[in-house]
């Protein structure tokens, strides 16, 4: 099996899965019916994309493996998602800031992955672009609405952006698998996305009358399986059914 390709797919897919799970937690708890539906719709798109990635990852094994084995039966240290997406749902502004900081990256990333030499990854990306651009529009709108809203919403969204900023740099961290996949024309050169990412994010923040944080110190570790304290709780929810009833099916 191509270990680098497997790990490469996991890093992309786990990030989608964990954010999808976080948004799914909000089902029935959104601040209004419309936003509740929007958040779960975005969750559904992300988990749908995850399924495509995991089905592909499962097909790389010689022995029989399914998407569910990969999604539910790994340990915390084996998940390769970035730290940003595992951060908990504290308030709506925080959820939107997390979403916005991810969406801007996600869309840029998929637009590059679309040109991958790997046909399956390129096809998943092509499909995902249409969904991710819709997500980005939604979260950018909310950043502007909250930033340029009331004093309270402005303060809350600014605090959320400041707090989450430390996790943004990890999006561009190149792992061993990334380097190997870029060499093969399969992967995306993340470093090249960094400048345009911060440019786009800054533009939206300024339009939202928010300040762009000036942080020099960033957190990382997720891509190597070293997660924040929130991850274990998230996984115990995510994996509950498969752990309680092994091999259960709907």
């Amino acid at each position: 099996m191509n270990q680098n390709l497997y790990h490469y797919i996991l890093t992309i897919a786990d990030t989608n899965l964990i954010l999808g799970q976080r948004l799914g937690e909000l089902c029935g708890h959104g601040p209004s019916l419309e936003t509740d539906i929007a958040l779960t719709n975005i969750s559904l798109d992300l988990i749908g994309q995850t399924r495509s990635y995991f089905q592909y990852a499962a097909s790389l094994f010689d022995e029989e493996k399914t998407e569910d084995d990969i999604a539910f039966l790994r340990k915390e240290r084996e998940y390769r998602n970035v730290l940003l997406v595992e951060q908990p749902n504290t308030h709506f502004g925080y959820v939107m800031a997390r979403q916005f900081l991810f969406d801007v990256f996600h869309l840029m990333f998929l637009r590059e992955l679309e040109n991958s030499k790997d046909e399956t990854l390129a096809a998943i990306a092509k499909k995902g672009i249409k969904e991710a651009s819709y997500h980005r529009r939604f979260s950018s709108d909310w950043i502007k609405r909250l930033g340029d809203g009331t004093e309270e919403s402005h303060t809350k969204i600014q605090e959320a952006v400041n707090n989450l900023w430390r996790y943004t740099n990890e999006l561009f961290q190149m792992t061993e698998a990334d380097v190997a996949m870029v060499k093969e024309g399969v992967g995306v050169n993340l470093e090249a996305l960094k400048e345009p990412y911060y440019e786009t994010v800054s533009e939206v923040l300024k339009e939202a009358t928010l300040e762009v944080p000036e942080r020099k110190y960033f957190q990382k570790g997720g891509k190597e399986g070293i997660h924040t304290e929130h991850m274990g709780y998230l996984l115990s929810d995510l994996q509950y059914m498969q752990r309680a009833f092994p091999d259960m099916k709907w």
Binding site: E34, A38, F138
Partner: protein, 166 residues
Amino acid sequence: MTETKPNIQTDLIPILESVSDPEIPVLSVLDLGVIREAVKEDGVVRIKLTPTYSGCPAMDVMSDDLKAAFYKKGMQAKVQLVLSPAWTTDWISEAGKRKMEEYGIAAPLEETADKDALLGEKKVVKCTNCGSTNTHLVSQFGSTACKALFKCDDCQEPFDYFKCLK
């Protein structure tokens, strides 16, 4: 570049027409344009199905319904999910769009008009109840991934709009 014409064996059409979208029951899988291939080879019907949205839960149901419909006619069907080329709302048939409107879901507009509608810049989406275009967007996300929620400012009816996807 994009291959848009599906390869469907004519004698299989009546069976395919009997399978509908579980979320929009007036539309058959053919109206929706999600069947990209249906051919009978060595007694087995091979179907290529493409998802509307990546996470659309209706896909698994459609796949099961297709197998069941062919099984009832004494045929075995194998359904394969294909992602490329990616589905677009252009593949919904004209008859499908008409049926959708009658059902109460506004059919997708072309790309530019769709953008105007979803950004709230122009009033272009027609109310399925009274036909007025004096409507406004309530939510970019509707009851399913493929729809947005609108409301008519003349007859006050809320209705779904099928988003343009290209």
